[in-house]
Amino acid sequence: MSTTVTSHRPRPPAQPESLRARRLPAYAAPVIAVAALALAAAIVYGASIGGPVLVIVLGAVLYLVGLFAASNAVEGRRSARNRTWSALIHSAFVLAVVPLASVVWTLVSKGTERLDANFFNTSMNNIGARDPNGGAYHAIVGTLEQVGIAALITVPLGILCAIYIVEYGRGRFAFAIRFFVDVMTGIPSIVTGLFVLAFWVLIVSPWFNDGRPSFSGFAAALALSVLMLPTIVRSTEEMLRLVPPPLREGAYALGVPKWKTILRVVVPTALPGIVTGVMLSIARAAGETAPVLLVAGGGAAINFNPFENNQSSLALYVYQQAGEASKYSPARAWTAALTLVALVLILTIAAKLLARRNRLSR
């Protein structure tokens, strides 16, 4: 009787005899990699079916298969799976970095040709198709002013809106705001451009321009604001929600009013994340072409006044130069693209440093 009872008991998993297991030697992975690449090269060039790219792709696949097989044979199934997945995750990382590195490399290699003082000192005013000079001064001015005005409008508005949604918003009204912010996120930039064109340029601007509609940098800034606002609201909202409720309660319990708690405890705690969100939206706005093309007009001359007459921007300048029938314009386009990326990078780094000026954070 007693034997049947014991046989029905669920068995505990088998205990390993020893805690040590057989391991592939450290040189195994590189050896397999070299062998896989060699095999891939032999197949690809032997059958002459492709070039170095195919060798690498095929080599990677062979490496994964070889690694799994070797590890499975020596170390067992669990280790083999672990190694294969690690290798896959690393390859995914490499795959993600390749386009980025490629973009940076292309920009730097092609953008340095016109990277000279003349490029940053002159505009495209009176530059003919046969003129090797010409620069993006007007476009840099335009980008800085348009994005700056757009940021002045959207950063306070966006952060206040997020604070409302997180800290005060209750019920239907807050839900409606969140919903429309979500909808706004999906608006294509050309549509915001058309909206500002129809509303600001064609209807409002004639009121203070002798009855004639007028392009302006400010109109572009308005269009960019519509694009930036939802990004800032959503990212700030997420960051504010991450601030632990006990911090708020700690401040309330000291008799600190709610608005001051938000201003002095909640927002400073979330600040690094908020800055990141703001910079993302600024980077996006700085790279927009369509709205600027539609409502700023994109002049060739330097115009410091964002409220009157045409302005250009770097993104628009790249677009125009890339389509120009001149053998000198592609170089200008590349340099402008490089300038734009560098500008956004510098702004981002500066903002991060500013947000970190608080000696306590990290």
Binding site: R170, P244, P246, L247, R248, E249, G250, A251, Y252, A253, L254, G255, V256, P257, K260, T261, R264, V265, P268, T269, L271, N358, L360, S361
Partner: protein
């Protein structure tokens, strides 16, 4: 300085859920009162309704009357921030403000309520940190982040922060549950000292702690999950722990239930 807190027929809700029902008790000035009872019996809810922290949660509300020296805490004209300045609170988990230094944390209550003068802040910070038995440990690194202290030090920092605004009543919601025995001892010693100046109400799951630190003990309990918590017995700590008059209290204290 210390004031009397009394509750009559206090009932608190979270939305439709009634968390505590008809609590009546009076806490004398300059005493330590412990609230004990099984989890979910409404001790913390009652504690939080004393300084109107209960209503911070959406849908939460309190009925009945709570007074501090005969002033109605829930009167229509009462300024909530004034109530909370008078009745300070220390939470279960230490919650120093992460963007502030030790010094800034201690004077946060003063500074955020408009005290700017450096000399006043300096004096208040030292006084509060000394009362919280933390001064010697942090006096050389007041500019360092408050979140960099150990758990026990952080909790004493939070106590210092609370007493820096000179409240009359200090509420403590399981202040030692996240701490090791040595830090717990430090905080219990602290309570003995603070009793001279403040009225202290403490929620604790640790019955030895309640027996050690408190003068009076209130035992809360619930019939079953979903029922509101009720005050079962409220008496001198000595009596509650040696000769409780209600059977349920005795069962809880001797470990037969809860």
């Amino acid at each position: 300085m210390a004031k009397r807190v009394s509750a009559s027929n206090v009932t608190a809700y979270y939305g439709a859920f009634k968390a505590i029902e008809n609590i009546n008790l009076t806490v004398e000035p300059k005493t330590v009162t412990a609230l004990i009872g099984p989890s979910g019996c409404g001790k913390s809810t009652f504690l939080r309704s004393i300084n109107r922290m209960h209503e911070v949660l959406p849908g939460a509300r309190v009925e009945g009357s709570l007074t501090i020296d005969d002033q109605d805490i829930y009167h229509r004209d009462v300024d909530v921030t004034a109530v909370r300045r008078t009745i300070g609170m220390v939470f279960q988990r230490p919650n120093p403000f992460p963007t502030m230094s030790i010094f800034e944390n201690v004077v946060a209550g003063l500074k955020l309520n408009g005290v700017r003068k450096k000399s006043i802040l300096d004096e208040a910070a030292e006084k509060a940190l000394r009362s919280a038995n933390l001064w010697d440990e942090v006096k050389d690194r007041l500019g360092k982040p408050g979140a960099g202290l150990s758990g026990g030090q952080q909790q004493r920092l939070c106590i210092a922060r609370t007493i820096a605004v000179e409240p009359q009543v200090v509420l403590m919601d399981e202040p030692c549950s996240a701490l090791d025995p040595i830090s717990t001892l430090a905080i219990e010693d602290l309570m003995f000292q603070l009793k001279d100046k403040f009225t202290i109400i403490i929620v604790t799951h640790n019955m030895q702690q309640a027996a050690r630190v408190s003068d009076r003990t209130a035992f809360f309990s619930i019939e079953k999950t979903g029922d509101p918590g009720r005050l079962i017995e409220y008496d001198n700590t000595q009596k509650i722990f040696s000769n409780p008059s209600v059977k349920k209290t005795e069962d809880y204290i001797t470990g037969r239930f809860g």
